[in-house]
Amino acid sequence: MATNLPAVDAVLAGFGWTGAILGQQLCDAGLNVVALERGAWRDTPTDFATTFAQDELRYMWRHHLFQNLAYDTLTIRNRTDQEALPMRHLGSFLLGTGVGGAGVHWNAQIWRFLESDLKAYTHNLQRYGKAAVSAYDMTIQDYPLSWDEIEPHYEAFDKLCGTSGRAGNLKGVIQDGGNPFEGPRSAEYPNPPMAMPYGPTLFAKAAREKGYQPFPHPTGNVSRPYTNPLGAQLGQCTYCGFCEKFGCGNYSKATAQTTILPYLMMKTNFTLRTESEVLKVETTADGKRATGVTYVNSAGEEFFQPAQIVILSAYVLQNVRLMLLSKIGKPYDPHSGEGVVGKNYAYQTMGSVNVFFEDKIMNPFIGAGALATVVDEFNGDNFDHTGLGFIGGGYIAQLHTGGRPIEMIYTPQGIPKWGTEWKRAAARNYLRAVNISCHGSVMAHRGNYLDLDPTYRDSFGRPMLRMTFDFSDNELKMSRYLVDKAADIALAMEGVSAVKKNYRTGSWSVVPYQTTHNTGGTMMGDNPTQSVVNKYLQSWDVDNLFVMGSGAFPQNAGYNPTGTVAALAYHSADAIKNQYLKSPGPLVRA
């Protein structure tokens, strides 16, 4: 039997990036807020200090900062006619847990979507016709908000993180050295770009010779000391190469820990309970209002936390599962096409090109999570797709995230994975090779969705989430196109001796690491028959329930999602503070 706790104004289920943003915003508005986090408290000196953070085995391969699948996993399959089986070991994506969430071990690649990404359906329909947006059983939709509505919130996140980069479009004026395809920015980046090592420098030179407009990757690894608007101080990134998949010991990577918690944790109207997992959102008998959440802590004690506002701020896969377990919104049925919760699950299509040099020392270990030069000519609808047989795209980047030797030794085409030939190739090429990433979109398709598994249960006895996902030919053709374009640039890099193209082929596999960019399932839209939440991330069915995260994406763009996840969180917080609190109820009339 659950113990009833005193009511609060707002409860947050999950305390990563979006939980911290909403906590700070709502506490500053005077609300009494409780955050529930299933994992442990984590801070920089205790959990990832510079004296022991550079440990590839422990963090990357033994998953020390990641979700422990022994207690919670999901089931996976490619198609509805297959039996979904548990993801027994992390591979394709690296789920987070604990305070700060996956935002502790992210790269801090901070992107804004294109204006055309926000209008993926109508933009592609108008330019390429009905067949282009309905091929491959596509179920894409527009985002229900405009560039002008979201831009101030992208800006807020950039200021929070001290994003380092160079504007390409400042209030409509194209700027040399930035991304000319980006939507108009209201301000220059808070910090200048990072210094570039050899590989990104040679890549940018080759790209310019090809007629492209390369630019430095926008990054939350700060290029100089920075104090953000909350008074939190970040230190200059030292290029240690242990950023993605690791915690930063140097206070250089924007995370909840480095940008928000020093401020939020001191507020007397904020309470954090760790080792406390939300099991369910409770609702009134008519199902129209959330009364709070039920959670269980690591001692096995169950509590009911009443709240005026419930915010789901866990990772996308947990948010979708909580919606399904709480029976809020109509679950999606891929056979009838009806329902919305779990619909339009999407991911990222990753390809790459390895580039080898005969005599150049590339020092791959000089790295940071978003240390790269980028070409954006083939992202979104930045190029004419006529006759290509796909829509969408991605960015192409020579990314120096590090040279961690278990994961990142590249060997030329035809070299076996072990034995003397492998060993000699590894020793020969480690210092003389770099990798170009092709970071592609995934459109929404009728058969890609999330629901509850009929067989497997988690350690609380609840059904696991079931993921049904495969790449369509739209994604595979798009990715192949990107890889070929990347190889063209690679072959123009000074001193190149060989390239190896790594196309994405066949069905999606859970085994090789790709990226932790899972999206969809609680998508945002203009009306309740086609979406789970409105543009303020407010549930259509339960108006005091708000659902954060990349679940809101109707489909995934060719960029890393966190910038847009954070912007949508700020947009939602703004609406809660300035509209909902004054007049509780639906913020958009259905």
Partner: protein
Amino acid sequence: MSDSEITRRQLLVGGALVGAACVTGAAALHDGALGAPPRTIKGAVPWREGTADVPPMVQGTAYRFFTAGEQAFIEPAIDRLIPPDETGPSASQANVHVFLDHQLAGAFGRGDHFYLGGPWPKGTPEQGYQSRLSPAQLYRTAIPAVEAYVRDQHAGKTFKELGAAEQDVVLRALESGEAKLSGADGKSFFDMFLQNVLEGYFSDPIYGGNKDMAAWKMIGFPGAHYDYREWVSRHGERVPYLTVGIKGRPGWSQG
């Protein structure tokens, strides 16, 4: 850090003292393992001294997991995956067998961070690892199955008794899935084995392998440095830093 603390941490990871740790107020288990007490945090950043989540360190090279029969397979097999030559150390010269032994005797061997609940249908290759066995159980089951396969193919010989080229044929048959083992999935085993060997060869020496950081020196990785600002713009130059691990390097830190 004193040796007694290292030992205590290893025991904690091993689970033997989890209950006692709660009673004595030790730090939360940092990796999400059950056993950490729930906490309510308000009005403060709850930093506590003496709770840094330092990694465990392997002590000694004596076998604690592999039986004599398993050692007779592991030692020659790891040196086919990474053979000795003038380029750098072989796997056994880098103490990869010590690394494997400690990993399988510890949390990884017990299936830490793996989901091993049933039911256990075989699944598709895209669904990844689908065994009910922990890594330690997989090694324990698969090694005798590989030896049985070798005896069958090579007139009663053991893996160790084969020539290098014959050993490579066996390993390639496991890698491709052509070798059908009795009671074990040879490809699942090989995939994990190769991954673990690379881990032992290239991970920090605190885990028992990568002896003298020789594998890092072979490829030119300078190790656990954390500041390359002086070198990021010096394109094409070799970074002259001496190789270091988490515990420093011989002659600098006596650990």
